[in-house]
Amino acid sequence: EAGVAQSPRYKIIEKRQSVAFWCNPISGHATLYWYQQILGQGPKLLIQFQNNGVVDDSQLPKDRFSAERLKGVDSTLKIQPAKLEDSAVYLCASSLLNSGNTIYFGEGSWLTVV
């Protein structure tokens, strides 16, 4: 079974530039998550989708971060403009629809803002 796919794996940008990350969840997984993991911390949920609807985006900095999952499959996370403190690993994850299901993670997209 193919896992959660993410790209790009690594990205270096200057502050105030924009960046976009792409995620393809495991086939059939209705729920998709974006987590931010800053060095030395545990992952923090940014946004959770169920199909193409947003379930929770309470911790998404909406002035600069946006995410979409238009067709209920792939998702894109965008940061514009980036700040130095956005340097982190951005993890995409997916799970089946019902609560209590295992959440599967991608390898992450490493962002460095200089």
């Binding site: 896992g3 959660v4 729920t31 998550y33 030395g40 911390q41 545990g42 992952p43 923090k44 949920l45 959770q48 379930v55 929770d56 993890l91 799970s95 019902n98 609560s99 209590g100 299901n101 295992t102 959440i103 599967y104 993670f105 991608g106 390898e107 992450g108």
Partner: protein, 109 residues
Amino acid sequence: AQRVTQPEKLLSVFKGAPVELKCNYSYSGSPELFWYVQYSRQRLQLLLRHISRESIKGFTADLNKGETSFHLKKPFAQEEDSAMYYCASTPGGANNLFFGTGTRLTVIP
């Protein structure tokens, strides 16, 4: 507010020694508790969850509601257990994860 605390950032044990990684939680309601592991150069993956009450790779974890703890234990550590371990929880009925800050376990040969 939901919170998961892992008091140890680093833990080193000798091969064959017992290991315990600590996790405490503070919640209202009935959270579900998990341990996730990240081996070197691999993705974050589920190790075990409290509702299944199973042992994975020799690891067990018991939910202690009185102490609000979910410590991860293994009686005899192996070198391949060296990894980053994260305790996590979901609020009852939801399916998103709140993570602790993680403990890096090093098993010394």
